[in-house]
Symmetry: C2
Subunit: 86 residues, 2 copies
């Protein structure tokens, strides 16, 4: 499946979450990741994130899409990812 | 259609883009918006953004989904938006 992960993390924990996400997904913008991932790996990613963040302060939103049909992506300005899955 | 808009904007222009996006979409996280929007309104939003940003420095990624079928969203930690379209 294709996922978009966005986070808003306290500066104290930001680097840790960044490192975790980088192992699973493509880094699109400062706090935005995207990519194709299996359900098993996505669950592992979620578990790792849960061990690091503080649920009362931090926020991680994960959008999951089983198909990329009828979807598209447009970038205005810098396209840090360059090549595009979507 | 449903869109997710994420941006990485130079601090000088950040507030302007935030104000524009707020008029069209729901503010989910610092630099993340989502919501259902018509094609016409989305085009107007894109045009307004293009008049404000510096394409060499700023980045705005817009994910467009014509259907929300086979998709879901999970939030770990703070859910600033509360109610959920997805």
């Amino acid at each position: 499946m294709f996922v978009i992960l966005v986070y808003d993390i306290n500066i104290k924990r930001n680097k840790k979450v960044l490192k975790i996400c980088r192992r699973y997904l493509n880094h699109v913008q400062k706090s935005v990741f995207e990519g194709v991932i299996t359900e098993a790996k996505l669950n592992r990613l979620k578990d790792e994130i849960k061990t690091v963040i503080c649920k009362e302060e931090d926020s991680v939103a994960i959008y999951e899409f089983e198909t990329l049909k009828y979807s598209s992506k447009e970038v205005i300005g810098l396209n840090e990812l360059g090549d595009n899955i979507l």
